[in-house]
């Protein structure tokens, strides 16, 4: 499956992802700038904030409670904000497109 990250400089990068990895892990593994994942995916640091493209919002599901609490206080949060450590990639998400927010 593929995922497209739109970077802060508005360029895009499409990378291949193996289903079962968190979106944050895919980003770190592909050296996507602006997604750090410092806490290793515990929703403890908010360094993997992304905006999910509108057409992918349903497929990526709801925010978890912890994620919701973190995001509520995060700068630049929007309706389509997610912490990418809380999105697990799967074949259903092939073509997923997100925008990197950065911290």
């Amino acid at each position: 499956m593929n995922v497209t990250f739109t970077l802060q400089d508005q360029t895009s990068r499409t990378v291949e992802a193996e289903p079962g990895w968190k979106l944050m892990e895919v980003a770190v593994d592909n050296a996507i700038p602006g997604i750090d994942g410092d806490c290793g995916g515990e929703a403890a640091c908010a360094t993997c904030h992304v905006y999910v493209a509108p057409e992918w919002r349903d497929a990526t599901g709801e925010r978890t409670d912890l994620e919701q609490a973190m995001l509520a206080s995060t700068f630049g949060v929007r309706e389509n904000s997610r912490l990418s450590c809380q999105i697990e990639t799967s074949e259903e998400l092939d073509g997923l497109s997100v925008e990197v927010v950065g911290s």
Binding site: L66, M70, S73, T74
Partner: protein, 413 residues
């Protein structure tokens, strides 16, 4: 001038991030990352949490997947550095070869302080630092096993929570009068202590472990007040010592770690030091500190990478920390000292707390349990221009979010 070759010694959180940040910043020279432990570089925090609980696959423990190193042109050198030749700009490796550097980054981390008592060598006495330690411990925690934890710091308590969840009988011995005495305020410490007691963990404060008994294998421990406690397993977390051996032998200045300036340079301008191993002048306390956290290691790595690419600002990233114990998510924003005062904020949830730390009238840190929103907000407030006064925070109806909406003019980030 940007160096042509960078050698990084130590591939923990700091070393791996330094390599990643150099490439993200457009560094085109060679990067050698010297990794002295078996296997690929891995993350430490899950060792005492998800990994120990068996909830994390081994490959998810890795800091980067195997193919990353080749793709990012990072030469992962599986060897130990044994000496630095500063005049010749070379690092000598245990295997006999050497690496030349224009710039060297020391990210050697820290080692467990060993238990200074008789019997510490017995089978079943284990520190918690490496993947090998966690694998060994995972095989030994079972229902009914009697565990003594020496030291009620973060790592000891994370382990205690996991062991209790597995049905082990856990007894924690701590010299101080409360858990995590160096890291959090009294109210936060007591909140966490109560949670552990609910999980069945027993505490003895003001109590030293004086000896470990057994023949070949541990069978019990002795305490400062002369008691004997049975034990199948003794896990110790009594602090760490910075790994300064290489730096010291190379004649670099040492002061509670490898001494660096506010740009994270050692006493040799061609050598930087970061992470658990380095002591630096803190923009947040005004004094020299050495911090043991992922945030510290990775933010310092980013700073050094940016400097090598031409940036020239001092290091002043806001410290933050997290720890997971049972159902408690503990988060700290900022950096408090033991003498800083504490204001406990009333929060509606029973299993949550929020404590503001003050130096005089200045907010310096916020400790939260199960209040992740407060934590994120606290990081923004502490990085900005000013927080609520102690008087405001003491009001019965105080809430950090409401305060921020009303007064928070802090620049955001």
């Amino acid at each position: 001038m940007t160096p042509a070759s960078v050698v990084i010694v130590g591939a923990g959180a700091g070393g791996a991030q330094a390599a990643a940040s150099l490439r993200q910043g457009g560094f085109e020279g060679s990067i050698s990352l010297v990794h002295g432990e078996p296997g690929l570089p891995y993350q430490r925090p899950p060792l005492s949490k998800a990994y120990l609980l068996g909830r994390l696959e081994a490959r998810k423990l890795l800091l980067r997947q195997e193919h990353w190193y080749a793709k990012q042109r990072v030469d992962l050198v599986l060897d130990r550095a044994v000496a630095i030749d500063r005049a010749g700009h070379q690092v000598h490796l245990a295997g006999g070869s050497s690496l030349s550097y224009d710039h060297l980054i020391l990210a050697t981390g820290s080692r467990n302080r060993e238990l200074p008592v008789p019997g510490a060598h017995l089978d079943g006495v284990i520190g918690m630092r490496t993947r090998a330690d966690a694998d060994e411990l995972a095989g030994r925690i079972r229902e009914g096993v009697e565990v003594v934890v020496a030291g009620a710091g973060f790592i000891g308590l994370e382990f205690a929570a996991v062991a209790a969840a597995h049905g082990a009988a856990v007894h924690v011995l701590e010299l101080a009068d409360r858990p995590m005495a160096r890291a959090v305020s009294e109210p936060t410490a007591q909140f966490i202590r109560r949670a552990h007691e609910e999980w069945g963990v027993r505490f003895d404060f003001g109590q030293a472990l004086t000896a470990i008994d057994g023949e070949g294998r541990v069978t019990g421990v002795e305490t400062g007040d002369g008691r004997r406690l049975p034990a199948d397993l003794v896990v110790y977390g009594i602090g760490v010592v910075p790994d300064t051996v290489l730096a010291e032998e190379a004649g670099l200045a040492i002061e509670n770690g490898i001494r660096v300036d506010d740009r994270l340079l050692t006493s040799d301008p061609d050598i930087s030091a970061i992470g658990d191993a380095a002591s630096f002048p803190s923009a947040h306390t005004g004094g020299r500190v050495r911090l043991e956290s992922v945030q510290n290691a990775v933010d310092q790595a980013r700073h050094v990478a940016a400097r090598l690419m031409g940036a020239s600002i001092g290091y002043d990233a806001l410290p933050w920390f997290w720890s997971d114990q049972g159902d408690l998510k503990i988060q700290i924003a900022g950096l408090a000292e033991v003498t800083d005062s504490a204001v406990e904020v009333a929060v509606p949830e029973p299993r949550a707390t929020c404590v503001l730390r003050y130096r005089g009238d200045r907010l310096v840190a916020v400790e939260t349990v199960n209040r992740p929103g407060d934590h994120v907000l606290a990081r923004r407030i502490l990085a900005g221009t000013g927080g609520p006064s102690p008087e405001e925070a003491s009001a019965p109806s105080f809430d950090l979010t409401r305060w921020h909406e009303a007064y928070g003019l802090a620049p955001t980030g």
